[in-house]
Each structure stands twice: as structure tokens, then as C-alpha cells.
Symmetry: C2
Subunit: 247 residues, 2 copies
């Protein structure tokens, strides 16, 4: 139920559970597009200033219900959509988003929110030109998260669902529910599935081929100072990525 | 698109533009029901603690778009609905609400938000047993507001819509849009229309007759210490209302 509106710009988004590697990939793609001379805008999930204080309060005081959590994140998204993402798309910019409405469709439904209701909630937004879904087995993702993180947070672990008193068990059960929702969305929204267990540079090479094809012949807003455009593959050699670490 | 769910309790709400007199009426009804021995819970629009800080920030910095304003107020409503209103209804309490989802349907659409979208937003809530709509001509309501208030606020006056640079003109145009939406909802949601230009005690007498009939034979949760119930008309004489001032 996202609008099929055409914009002057191009919207490319990545989705996947925590630990799927999507953030690394969109970051590499951003650098590559930037070095190509594209005007790129990057937007991250849950990052608007408007609702920050309420998000903090609700999390620290555990005040959220699935519905209020969902509505607040939609408010955050709407603020980013209306003030940044959509204006950038109208201006002809390539907008990259680390998580999009689909994150709400996956997480909120995993929390028990109605599938249609949450889809309608985000119906003011458009369907991206490209939506990459980084598919990884639960164990791989959980291992990546737990090895890199000090502590899981309450809502992150889905502790509000009462699935388990153990944070790690709860996190695993919650993530599996999210995976189930993502899998259902592959067909529903035409996700491009990337095997997130492959080496970073292999995934990135696959992404670039697809992005290059999607941007072929397209004329967006050029970044100031960049001209003429080089080919996507020439700018940031895939080999250079190897050993690159997450930001 | 509100659910037609039956609850043990009873939900009675009032709607109307600012200056329609609805708050005075629900306040009097509350006192009357309370003195009858009913267990009564009162809920006011935009009053949850969860989103307070964001509402304040958004208003002072004029950060809201119609969509983010709508979503944030829905978050506020959902917090009150899930934590208070619905549990009270399940317990068998009479819940009185000064403004309900219909306020969003009127104001948000007056701001340009899609009619169906906002109705879906509130679809987790139920249709009240009684919804009173206080109908007053624009001039009457505006005169009441302007004579009692120091200054109209930015969003209250609908200044975000750019209808006029003059706050009072903008307020009038905005309120007229809201009236138009309310009028469309009379049939859609079966509003009980009360002529808000009548004397306070006449309106209250009309309300009580309707409420009395709706509560006839209904057994809710009795208020602690109240028994047996007196008749609604005996408890707070209509005559005593005359000259009563707004809280």
C-alpha cells in the first residue's frame, strides 16, 4: 500500500534484521555513488529530531505499547519523509535509506500490530525504485550482534512481548518473527534478495550491478563540483572494500 | 472505521469546535453521574504524558507537518486508549471523553490529511455508545473564544495552513473547515446533535435524558461507597447549573 509515484530522484533502500550486514552495504554504496558524482542523500531509521525526547522517555520508562511504538516511529518516519526524503526525491537526488517502511511492517507486526493497519499508516510514502533485502539465517545475525555488542536493550530484544525472561532468548524469538515477516514481503514488495552470508565485497558487487542498471540513462541532480560522471565500477574498486570495517 | 465492539463499560464522548460549550457539558454530566454512584473515568484530548515533550517541541519550533501532527496526536490517543480508556471500559466503568477520534477526523482533514487514512489510523478504537456533537454557528464560537482568551496559538489558529497572515482570519477559516467535517460526520457516525446556542441548563437536561435512557438497565462497576443508585434527575438539579461557570 505504498504509492507507485514516480519522482525525479531515485530511492534505494536496504532492509534486513540486525546483523544482516545491510548498513555496511548501503554505506559502501553511498561512497561509491558519491564518488561517481551523484548527488546522494542518506537517511537512517528513527533519526528525526522531532520525536527524539519521546522515544527516549518511552524506552527508558517502558511506556510503549505495540501501537504507540508503531505510531511514534511512523511520526519519526513522516517527519523525515516530508522534510527531507520526499523533497530530495523531487529535486532529483539519489536517496539511500537504511531501513524504510518495511522495517515497521516487519517489526510492528512481529509485535502484534495489524498487518493492514501498519501498511496504511505509511501509505503517504512511495515504493522505492530498489529495495534490497539482506537475507541471513537467524544464528548468523544473532552471533554478529551478540559478539559486537555490550548489551541488548529492552525493546530491541522484544522484552515487551513477554516471549521469554531471558534477553537473548527473547531477542532470538523476536528476530525470527521479524524474519518471517520479511520473507512474506519479498513477493509483496518485490525485494531484491541478497545472500547476506556472502563476503562483503561479493554482496557489494552484486548491488552495484543492479544499481548501475537502474540508474542507466537517468539524469538526476549532479553533485556540485562533480563532472563528468565516471562509470560506477571504475570509481571505488571492489577489491578496496575487502577488509573495510563497519562504520 | 471504528470498531463496533461491545464493552462492559459505556463510552460517552463530546465533540464540537472550540467555543461550542462541549467541555462545560461533559463536566456537568460527569458530576451528575458521579453523584449517582456511577464509576466514572474522564479523559481529555491530547493529555498523555508520553508525547508531551515532543508536542511542546513541535509546537514551539513549528516543526509539524499535517501528517506528523496527525500521527503524534494519534500516538497520544493510543497511549490513553490502551492504558486507560479501554481497560476502564473492560472493567465496566463509564468513560467520558472530551474530544475523541472524531476531533482528529475533523481537524486533520481540515489540515489536508486524507479522510480514509486518518480513519484507519484510529481503527483500533471503538465507536462510543453516545457521541454528542455541539453545533454552533462559527460566529458564536469564535466570539466565545476570542472574548475569553488572551491570544490564539499558532497551530490552534491553523497558521500552518497559510490561509491568512491574520491570526483571527486564519482561525475563522480553519474553524469553518472543521465545522464542515463535523457536519459530514453527523450521519457517518450517528452523532447526537445538540444546539450549542441554547442555555447551558437546557443542553444539560437534554443530555441527561439521553444518557439516562442509554444507561437504563445497565450494570456497570459501582463507585466505591455509593449505593444504592438515585435517579439521574434527582441528584444534581438542573436549576443548580444555571450560572455555573466553566472550569
Amino acid at each position: 500500500m505504498l504509492a507507485n509515484t514516480d519522482t525525479k530522484g531515485r530511492l534505494i533502500i536496504v532492509e534486513g534484521i540486525d546483523g544482516s550486514g545491510k548498513s555496511t552495504q548501503i554505506d559502501l554504496l553511498q561512497k561509491s555513488l558519491h564518488s561517481e558524482g551523484y548527488s546522494v542523500y542518506f537517511s537512517e531509521w528513527n533519526s528525526s529530531d522531532l520525536v527524539k525526547s519521546t522515544t527516549r522517555l518511552g524506552k527508558s520508562e517502558k511506556m510503549f505499547t505495540p501501537t504507540t511504538f508503531s505510531l511514534l516511529q511512523a511520526t519519526d518516519f513522516a517527519a523525515r519523509w516530508e522534510n527531507f526524503i520526499y523533497p530530495m526525491l523531487k529535486a532529483g537526488v539519489v536517496v539511500l535509506a537504511d531501513r524504510y517502511a518495511y522495517t515497521a511492517f516487519a517489526r510492528d507486526v512481529a509485535r502484534g500490530v495489524d498487518r493492514d493497519w501498519v501498511r496504511n499508516l505509511y501509505s503517504f510514502a512511495i515504493q522505492p525504485q530498489l529495495a534490497f533485502y539482506f537475507q541471513v539465517p537467524l544464528d548468523v545475525a544473532v552471533e554478529r550482534i551478540l559478539s559486537g555488542r555490550a548489551k541488548l536493550k529492552y525493546y530491541e530484544a522484544g522484552m515487551d512481548l513477554g516471549l521469554s525472561d531471558n534477553k537473548i532468548t527473547s531477542f532470538r524469538l523476536f528476530q525470527q518473527r521479524i524474519i518471517n515477516e520479511y520473507e512474506l514481503m519479498i513477493d509483496e514488495f518485490g525485494f531484491i534478495v541478497v545472500d547476506g552470508t556472502q563476503p562483503v565485497e561479493v554482496q557489494q558487487a552484486q548491488m552495484r550491478v543492479i544499481v548501475k542498471k537502474a540508474l542507466e540513462g537517468w539524469k538526476g541532480l549532479p553533485a556540485p563540483g562533480y563532472h563528468p560522471r565516471l562509470s560506477l565500477s571504475k570509481t571505488l574498486p571492489i577489491e578496496a572494500i575487502k577488509g573495510g570495517k563497519k562504520k
